[in-house]
């Protein structure tokens, strides 16, 4: 636990030390929304649909590339230095992955504050449950990204190729940007095996204030699966790297 806290605070420090990058990260999704929202048919109704989508998408973008930070540290030698330290191997991964929650939360807060004047209706309980769920997902996804960085050691292009190849299809078939209701059957079938679909659906229900529903249950299950699975894969990769 203490080891995890040491790694977590080390990871977080550069973020807090450079407020400019933090502000930039926070404003990014708002900017994106401002460009995209006018294209949606009915602005007031669709904000409720679109804001949780952008929250998930920002988390996806930010967290899936986080392995590149580790990659840089593997190249410069600071990761090796951490491996020689007595810090526990799982802590080296969990501490890093937990840090992913922080920018995600900050982005969401800014996004919500920015959209309330335009008609976004805030349901605090739903949003809180939604963010807790998203945090679990974030940790899992971050772990997977770190695992990818660890296994592609020495061949950095592999990391980016895999990350880019997976990110967009996952994003599209989860119906984050566009609803899949009018899509062909095979696309819908694909979306049913994408955990992200359940997560986004659950976030949309939660952001609408509905907490107890099957959709939320399915989303929670998807988030926990990604969270636990991601950590398992990540810790294994970190242990193997140390051997």
């Amino acid at each position: 636990m203490r080891d995890t806290a040491v790694v977590f605070s080390r990871e977080l420090r550069p973020v807090l030390r450079s407020p400019f990058s933090l502000i930039f990260t926070m404003v990014q999704p708002v900017f994106f929304l401002a460009l995209f929202a006018p294209l949606l048919p009915d602005t007031v109704g669709s904000l409720q649909w679109f804001v949780p989508g952008v929250v998930v998408m920002s988390c996806l973008f930010g967290t899936s590339v986080t392995g590149s930070n580790l990659q840089l540290e593997m190249q410069t030698g600071s990761h090796e230095r951490m491996l020689v330290s007595p810090l526990s191997r799982p802590a080296l991964l969990i501490g890093r992955a937990l840090k992913e929650i922080v920018p995600m939360l900050a982005q969401t807060v800014v996004l919500i504050l920015a959209t309330i004047p335009f008609g976004f209706r805030l349901h605090p309980v739903g949003v809180l449950v939604g963010l807790a769920m998203l945090s679990v997902f974030c940790v899992g996804l971050g772990s997977l990204s770190y695992a990818l960085a660890l296994v592609s050691e020495g061949q950095e292009w592999i990391f980016w190729t895999v990350q880019q190849t997976l990110l967009f299809p996952l994003l599209l078939i989860a119906g984050i940007l566009l609803p899949l209701d009018n899509g062909p059957g095979w696309l819908k079938a694909l979306s049913h095996v994408n955990p992200l679909t359940y997560l986004v659906d659950a976030e949309r229900v939660l952001f609408n204030g509905e907490v107890f529903s099957g959709t939320v249950g399915a989303g929670l299950l998807a988030a926990v699966l990604v969270g636990v699975g991601g950590l398992w894969v990540g810790i294994r990769a970190m242990r193997r790297g140390a051997a």
Binding site: P14, R17, N69, E73, P86, A242, A243
Partner: protein, 324 residues
Amino acid sequence: MTSTVGPMIKTESLTRHFTVKKKTVEAVSGLDLEVRPGELVAFLGPNGAGKSTTLRMLTTLLTPTSGTAEVAGFDVRTNPRDVRARIGYIGQGNGAGHSQRGRDELISQGRAYGLGRVAARSRADELIESLGLAEVADRMVSSLSGGQRRRLDIAMGLIHTPPLLFLDEPSTGLDTQNRVNLQEHIRRLHSDHGTTMVLTTHYLDEADQLAERIVVIDHGKLIADDSPARLKSEHVGDRIVLGFDTAAAAAAAANRAGAFGGRVEVAGATVTISVPEGTQLVPKLLRGLDEAEIPVTAVEVTRPTLDDVFLVLTGRSLREGAAA
């Protein structure tokens, strides 16, 4: 307590294989080594000889394929965490994250080794002071010069005052001034704190000037292990070159010189004698030649370098190997 009583490092048949393109490469094979507390040992060998692989096994970064290694009293395979807590490691790269500030990294390094917040902070201050990093400690690591980063690396490796410190190619990439500076730090650490030190290098002069004991590694095997002076006298010896007026005088001198031992070679009007303690032999030799009335016109004594040692041991020059 085991760490202070027994050897600091003890390996038995330590071996590491790598599989490269379905072929097994023995990076380190059957290494037996013992390092006592307080020693300053250099692993010397060309690139790819197995120095770094050995170091990585001793620091728990690599698991041995076979054999055992005990470091600071603990087995690297079964008790890696106990080993890690007792050693410091300064790798080939930069220990501090480039997006971090030096002071922050020092403090988090201290926390990683179990220091409390206050203790980590004051230890960081201490090291910043003693390594002359005060002006740059609060800057981003990526903006520091190579020499400053290396000093920061040393500070990081020392944060928990380890009884055993590993340095992997510590001076690679540094200019001469920074290299001298670094060697000075290493020497001081060793003499002031009695820290046991193991470093790898392919710089001959560095190993020669710094280490009390040199372990020569080539093709994954230990091929020599002694002090620099003994390595030289045992394997190469000094070379005495005597000059004469005529080839005849040289031949006569070579004849007499044979009685003093060593290997004698004649080339024209010069005689070359290879012998372990050349400087002590020269006065006797000159007196003998004087008595025989063979006039010597020039004398030169060359002491061997570690490269000569390496050449004798392996048939290859380390300088060529390092340059390749």
